[in-house]
Amino acid sequence: MLIFEISAKGRRNHLQAPRNAPEANDIPAHLLRHKAPLFPEVSELQVVRHYTQLSRKNFSIDTQFYPLGSCTMKYNPRGVHQLASLEGFLQHHPLTPASHSQGYLQSAYELQQILSHITGLSAVSLTPMAGAQGEFAGVAMIRAYHLSRGDTARTEFLVPDAAHGTNPATAVMCGFRIKEIPTDKHGDVDLDALRAAVGPHTAGIMLTNPSTLGVFERRISDIAKIIHEAGGLLYYDGANLNAILGKCRPGDMGFDVMHINLHKTFATPHGGGGPGSGPVAANERLKPFLPTPTVGYDGKRYRWLTEKDCPQSIGRLSAFMGNAGIILRANIYARLLGREGLCRVSEYATLNANYLMARLQQAGFTLAFPDRRASHEFIITFKKEAKTLGVSAKDIAKRLLDYGVHAPTTYFPLLVPECFLIEPTETESKEELDNFVNILITILQEAHDSPDLVKQAPHLLPVRRLDDLKAARELDLTWRE
């Protein structure tokens, strides 16, 4: 039932509205609204009950194992949430003078320092609001860098075919043409193709390492050399940073600029779609171009640095200063873990992924890269099952839901057919992983014994499989009376 369907004309919830609000007689009538918007008219209990019940139709980290590859669905600490929600932080207006913002500014500054250290890059701007905006910032900085040197010929960006969709989309938003670089059969970038692709038009390359294929790009230093020698710069998509915290650093690999997904590596909750936060980190060369504002510290007081302080900045990416609440959360998370805890993240995330990979391989599942180590994630493919049993990766994903675990990422990266990208994260226990293996084994058996059971899944969720075609063809995007 929709909230509109439990609405009744004339029902009013006076407790939440101001009393006796006078009419706005001073505003000319032709500027006023004449018809109230169609909002539900519901009591507070109805609202609470409706949305509480709705929430129960979601899978979430707090209720399920959620091994969604590339998304780093780890435990979102409740303590972090509570402390970032302290009244003093919530009521703080973004344009409050710095004298009355030292608490927040200090937290932001510390996070800049932590991220700089973790990434091996010298400066950080926290303002991008998600990974994709961080990518935009980084690529726009590369663009600004070339232009600042009068180098206007660099109109192409290289993107491996395994890249996340945001990568090519971002480069296009920054005005670049895309050149796709193929992947070799071990999951590494095809170096010959790369060499063939670079040239005076090359503005740069966007790369994830470990890549979205779940493997570490071993020849990253060679790639950096090829790009740099061609006059291009390297952008690092930091969505997979969870894999390498304290093990190696993008700055050392030769990357010039990168973003970090705080809503992945730094355990901030994903909120059913967001918010995230995608701080961008740069080396000395690109530092002048960082988006504003950033936070400076003179040893005594923290303050905002804006366009005046950073004249070469690519500018401002949002009205205020990014998703401040997420930045606070990341600060708290990082300082709770500290240096030891941050190193443990990648260690146990990698342990979990490799263990799960080994167990699945032993159970007869097909790995996409059986000769490689898993990073914090890895890929299995149901190509064989799709062919022999007519059961697709999607079917198996849906059936997993019936067993109360969220499906891994399916059909991404696009180069591996019928694939699952599986990322268990460090916060899941061995028992949880073993349980997942057992479920997958059961489903595989079902796929043999009663394939329809799998193909018709899910059976136990609030809805059966949805008609996406109808959704797109007969667009129903808002409820009308």
Binding site: F4, R12, H14, P18, A21, E23, A24, L31, R33, K35, A36, L38, P40, V48, T52, L54, S55, N58, I61, D62, G79, L83, L86, G88, H92, L95, Q102, Y104, M129, A130, A132, Q133, E135, G175, H270, G271, G273, G274, P275, G315, R316, S318, A319, F320, G325, I326, I332, A334, L336, R339, Y348, L351, F412, K430, R464, L466, D476, L477, T478, W479
Partner: protein
Amino acid sequence: MPFIPHTEDDVKAMLNTIGVNSTDDLFDEIPSGLRIRNLDALDSGLNEMAMGRDMKERAERDGGLACFLGAGAYEHHIPAAVWQITGRGEFLTAYTPYQAEASQGTLQLLYEYQTMMAHLMGLEVSNASLYDGASALAEAVLMAVRANTAAKEPRILIAGNLHPHYRQTIEALVRPQGIQLETLPYNDKTGCLEAQFPKIENGDIVAVVIAQPNFFGGIEEVDAITDWAHQHQALVIAVVNPIAMALLKEPGAWGQRGADIVCGEGQPLGIPLASGGPYFGFLCTKMEYVRQMPGRLIGRTVDQEGKPGFSLTLQAREQHIRRAKATSNICTNQGLAVTAATIYMSLLGASGLSDVAKASHANSKALCTSLTAIPGISLRFNSPYFHEFVIECPCTADALILALLKKNILAGLDLSVLSPELDHCLLICVTETKTADDINAYVQALEHALQHIATTVED
């Protein structure tokens, strides 16, 4: 270990299954020259108790001001139910609803949000959120460029009284694609757009961007501007405050045909000020432009038994399907803030929202009347306004702000940020959260500050 459940026995068993001796071996594909061994420049971890002490001190340092500052972020009463429900683990810790069957909660909520937001704006379609108001406007501009096939060149006319940060944001976000941004001037007396529009030819302009209310709180003559733009085949992009829309004419009803794209900052709808985010940007449009929309869209459909259900739709617009050809690079959006806003709108209802708008407006009138009765203080712009106004003072706005901060009052925004000539101008916002006592305290503090400043100057 914080957040890591492994026992020593687990680790041993797992390494054994993998067939390696140590977790370190698992990183053996990283070239040894690149390996680091620790993060020792960072501090050791704290436990939650110690962190609590530390963060409480910080929060206290930042809190406790009576807020009369708006300028794009507005303090409103937020019903307790909003975040108590939004904070439920099932909303808070779910991912983007890719697996529709396991995400009907979030999906239905977003569909309800789309409905309310579209109705509030008087348009047919709303997406499921963008990052914030300013970046939503940039997306609106890019969308207009794709949608307006009549325009010869990507030229956009932008109201000069748009929030300066919005202007800066679109500069940063759309400039790389070669889009030209030009300014529609405002009148120095009214603060509103000039009644005389510039001369343009059909197809010269992709879109006109109007802010309602404008940055100074002023209410624009939106009907005339809209019709003028449409007459020249330009689209109209409205940047609006959603609370104001409970009181002011909705963009879908502007002029003959209504605004084409509406965007803005969703924060006033139940989202705390919180140092500037997370907020959310909303974006609405007419059905004819839906395929040019950026961001997630939720559609209602049926499952294989014919039962209604919800899923992400028109995904072919998005980066994860269309990659380089997507309408935007946006992926993660501001889902949780939208969850809060949806619950907020449900709790308030249309009449409650309109009461919030009216009470805020009446409070701002009350403060404005008292302030402008003080000798030396005048209203800077003579136009109708909504809940935010500009006063001109005998001293710099900055001096007043500093003086009122000492009384724990956040007096408003020093408009010298906008232009040096406005350095005696203070932008003040009052919402329904302020009582008559709060307003009196402001007036008295300001009078006191003025006296003090006068004396100091005399000295």
